[in-house]
């Protein structure tokens, strides 16, 4: 049995300890906002926060996540930074197909939690692990700057 604290709620899971956190979220808890993209931490679609740090859930065994605070896209809007990021994403119409955006938003929220007004170079560094095949990079960058301007003061 593995105890998993997801978005402030503790779940008890009877699963293979090696199951990646991604599939525990998606298949066991039916929280499908966190996406499967590559299975090798190469694309960032599966990004969640573990104890506040952006983490690729597709390579993190669920056992290694036990007892730690996991935040997913479903709850990130409940934080001031997460809400500022989502609002900026909507204002700038970032998503196209939208599939990578959960991961993009989780990475962006993590960046802004550490760096309130990131430079373009800091955005490049923090977001380079998140692929968008629709190529919405220009809007993602603009939205991060906008969220920094709107959300930084509140956080």
């Amino acid at each position: 049995m593995i105890k998993l604290d997801v978005n402030g709620e503790v779940h008890t899971l009877d699963v293979d300890a090696q199951m990646p956190l991604l599939w525990a979220l998606r298949d066991v808890l039916n929280m499908t906002g966190t996406k499967f993209g590559c299975g090798m931490a190469l694309c960032g679609a599966c990004t969640v926060h573990v104890d506040g740090v952006a983490t690729r859930s597709c390579v993190l065994p669920v056992a290694a996540a036990a007892g730690r605070k996991i935040t997913t896209i479903e709850a990130i809007g409940g934080t001031p930074i997460g809400k500022a990021v989502q609002d900026a994403w909507i204002a700038i119409d970032v998503p196209q197909c939208g599939y990578c955006q959960s991961g993009q938003i989780m990475s962006a929220a993590s960046l802004l939690a550490k760096t309130r007004a990131p430079t373009d170079a800091q955005i490049d560094a923090a977001m380079s692990g998140n692929i968008c095949r629709c190529g919405a990079y220009g809007r993602i960058r603009a939205a991060i700057h906008k969220a920094a301007a709107n959300g930084g003061a509140e956080s």
Partner: protein, 733 residues
């Protein structure tokens, strides 16, 4: 709450009251938007009471509570089609888009593409083919609502008008759509020929930068893609897939797979050997432990270098498959006083690599089969599923989910990812979701074909091309598929598109084609044949300009003089202006230009490049499109930004290779794509126009590879004639 819902069955239907149209549409309309019985049957497995349904306009539902629902016959894969089609409907219906809920259409003839008798999304033609019909559908519904109000008030309909979901009548009378919906539903449909559609100066929504309707569910995790489908009791499956085309299992050792926790069964299918489990993790663990001894048929071992070596001499031979012949290109090429140019341009196989790996959930039962997936090919998928399910097509229900990228991969006329799920569900008699890994997708074929192009030109003393001869060598996408009928005189139009319609004024011009066969499935990839032909033609024309000692943009301008090239000229002029063509650049930077027509639209792009640590770096791309009337400038700009980055990924990195049957790429480490730090600043501009709308989703992709290659030539003097530009992290020019 999500804007988009995919529930399409009887229970759902019964909750609604549909706006009306009983009579058949008047003549002259190729697509009826009236609801045929077969379509209604597709919507409802258990007939709802007639008084609750009413006759139906297939695209619009207005509830007695005023709730407005639009039915979307096209798949949303990021191109903004839900928003664009809703603008067309709402413009004439006179409603607020903020009040609209979207449901995805079931499979029915009423939702077919008017040019290809199938329900699918592709070819950048959703807006252009819906431009008349959906505005008419909106106008018909509005007319019925006004008529219902007029009758209620005892006045003439001509005295009434509609605005923002309210009908206004004489003396300040007003009634909301919801209160009129039931009455309007009983009225006969107006003859579309009697309806006058708005002119562009009257547009309230069309032409405006309307925001994406389904944006919220794409930022809060609630949007439902195919992989997010959860059906009670649904199992997961992953397949061991054949290592070569046509390979079949000689022996399967499933002991280790079955020993994995939560693995339930191993089921051989046509497409491979499925491991069925309670969750995706177990399915993958089991699949990876399956030992299959494959029987690989002779001749199915692909080696892409051997193919290249085979294509090269073929490209130097004439073919009888002539796609275009003006004047006498072969004789003119030999003119003694001419300057002669000859070059070979090559592009590789490409994977689409949409962010959402392929998947399909299916639930087969004896009397119905449900399919949940992100597909671009609803009616071919339904037909394929019906054959496998042993059911008539109307008992197969296709639930179209959001697509986590399509780029053509989810438009497979062979219905590969749907067929295997239906077959498995039938064999295990229960709901199951088949999931592909990234590696399955990258190894699994259905690639953009590899191409070899040989181009030859002869320039006169003034540097103008007098002859142009383009020979293409590669596989056909359409041959042997349900699109075989579009192959004319042996020529697949997607093989030569963009080459055969070369717009430049060249008196002697020949384009011919060698169609090859290879043990690899090929498929359309965003912009299809244009992704090859734009690179070959726009790079080679740049070679001609350089040989003539002319500015590449001026050279093009001088060759685009005909009456049919007015749109080209408009694009070139705006492009020159917005890019600052000819203006100063930072040291070590250079510009390149390319222009290409596809899907009815013209796109010109200017790329600004430099070399950083010896590697190409694209700083800025100015993209100009002429796409007729710009229904949603905001979405068009987004599509240009997208198309540039998509094409740039392929130009810089994209390549699928096989060495003696072994794939050279598996995931995003070996198949790199453009990431945040490499993405250029894209500036999108639209040529103002009131012409009927033309394609937007794909036309931005073809010009980027030649624009970048031409810029790198301007910078380095080296011509890039083979893609991708980087191999193994090294610049290959």
């Amino acid at each position: 709450m999500s804007v988009v819902e995919t529930v399409v069955d009887g229970a759902d239907l019964a909750r609604r009251r549909f706006i009306v149209s009983t009579a058949a549409a008047g003549g002259g309309l190729a697509i009826g938007f009236l609801w045929p019985e077969a379509a209604r049957a597709a919507w409802t497995s258990a007939p709802a009471p007639a008084d609750q349904i009413g006759p139906i306009n297939a695209f619009i539902d207005i509830g007695t509570d005023g709730a407005i629902t639009f039915v979307m016959p096209k798949s949303e894969m990021g191109q903004g089609v839900y928003t664009g089609l809703s603008q067309l409907l709402a413009e004439e219906l006179e409603c607020d888009l903020a009040h609209v809920r979207i449901v995805t259409a079931p499979v029915a003839a009423v939702y077919n593409n008017p040019f290809v008798p199938a329900q699918f999304t592709g070819g950048s033609m959703s807006i252009s083919t819906s431009w008349q019909s959906l505005r008419l559908a909106g106008a018909m519904a509005r007319t019925q609502l006004i008529e219902a109000a007029a009758r209620r008030w005892g006045v003439a309909a001509s005295q009434c008008s509609a605005e923002l979901e309210v009908v206004h009548g004489p003396g300040g009378r007003r009634t909301a759509y919801g209160e009129l919906a039931a009455d309007a539903g009983k009225l006969p449909a107006p003859d579309p020929r009697t309806l006058k559609l708005k002119t562009p100066d009257e547009f309230r929504l069309i032409g405006k930068p309307v925001k994406r309707l389904e944006v919220r569910e794409k930022v809060d995790g609630s949007g439902k893609f195919g992989l997010d489908v959860r059906v009670p009791g649904m199992l997961r499956a992953m397949l061991a897939r054949p290592p070569a085309l046509g390979a079949t299992p000689r022996h399967i050792d499933d002991a280790a797979a079955l020993a994995v926790r939560d693995v339930l069964r191993v089921v051989p299918l046509k497409a491979g050997v499925a491991v069925v489990a309670r969750n995706t993790h177990a399915a993958k663990m089991g699949r990876d432990r399956l030992v299959v001894d494959w029987d690989i048929p002779a001749g199915s071992v692909l080696d892409t270098e051997r193919e290249r070596a085979r294509y090269l001499p073929l490209s130097a031979t004439e073919s009888e498959l002539v796609a275009r012949s003006d004047g006498d290109a072969r004789t003119s090429l030999g003119a003694a006083d001419a300057k002669h140019l000859e070059a070979v341009y090559e592009v590789p196989y490409l994977a689409h690599a949409p962010m959402e790996p392929l998947n399909c959930a299916a639930h087969w039962r004896e009397d119905r089969c449900d399919i949940w997936t992100g597909t671009q090919m609803q009616s071919p998928d339904q037909a394929a599923a019906a054959a496998i399910a042993g059911l008539p097509p109307h008992q197969v229900f296709v639930h179209t989910m959001l697509l986590g990228g399509g780029f053509g991969r989810r438009a497979n006329p062979a219905s590969d990812f749907v067929s295997e799920a239906v077959e498995l569900s039938r064999k295990i008699a229960g709901p199951v979701q088949v999931v592909w890994t990234r590696e399955d997708d990258m190894h699994g074929g259905w690639y953009r074909p590899m191409w070899t192009n040989r181009l030859r030109a002869a320039l006169d003393r003034a540097g103008k091309p007098q002859a142009w001869y383009h020979t293409l060598v590669g596989q056909s996408i359409m041959a042997g598929t349900i699109f075989q009928g579009m192959v004319k005189n042996g020529i697949d139009p997607t093989s030569v598109e963009g080459a055969a319609e070369l717009p430049y004024a060249i008196p002697n011009l020949r384009v011919d084609l060698h169609t090859t066969t290879a043990p690899m499935h090929v498929l359309w990839w965003r912009s299809v044949g244009h992704s090859n032909t734009a690179f070959a033609t726009e790079s080679f024309l740049d070679e001609c300009a350089a040989a003539a000692g002319r500015d590449p943009l001026d050279y093009r301008r001088a060759l685009l003089t005909g009456p049919k090239q007015a749109r080209h000229r408009a694009v070139l002029e705006l492009l020159a202006q917005k890019s600052g063509w000819g203006g100063a650049l930072p040291a070590g930077h250079a510009r390149g230009v390319a222009i290409h027509e596809s899907f009815g639209s013209m796109v010109g792009e200017v790329a600004e490049v430099s070399l950083e640590n010896g590697l190409p770096r694209v700083h800025r791309v100015v993209a100009v499109i002429h796409c007729g009337l710009a229904v949603n400038p905001r979405m068009i700009a987004a599509q240009l930004e997208s198309a540039v980055n998509f094409g740039l990924s392929a130009a810089l990195y994209g390549e699928i290779t096989f060495a003696d049957g072994k794939p050279g790429q598996s995931n995003f480490d070996t198949y790199p794509v453009v990431r945040m730090g490499e993405a250029p600043r894209v500036e999108a501009h639209i040529v103002p126009s009131t012409d009927a709308p033309t394609g937007v989703g794909e036309p931005g992709t073809p010009p980027i590879a030649p624009a970048v290659a031409n810029a790198l030539f301007a910078l380095t003097g080296k011509r890039i004639r083979r893609l991708p530009m980087l191999r193994g992290g090294k610049f290959t020019a």
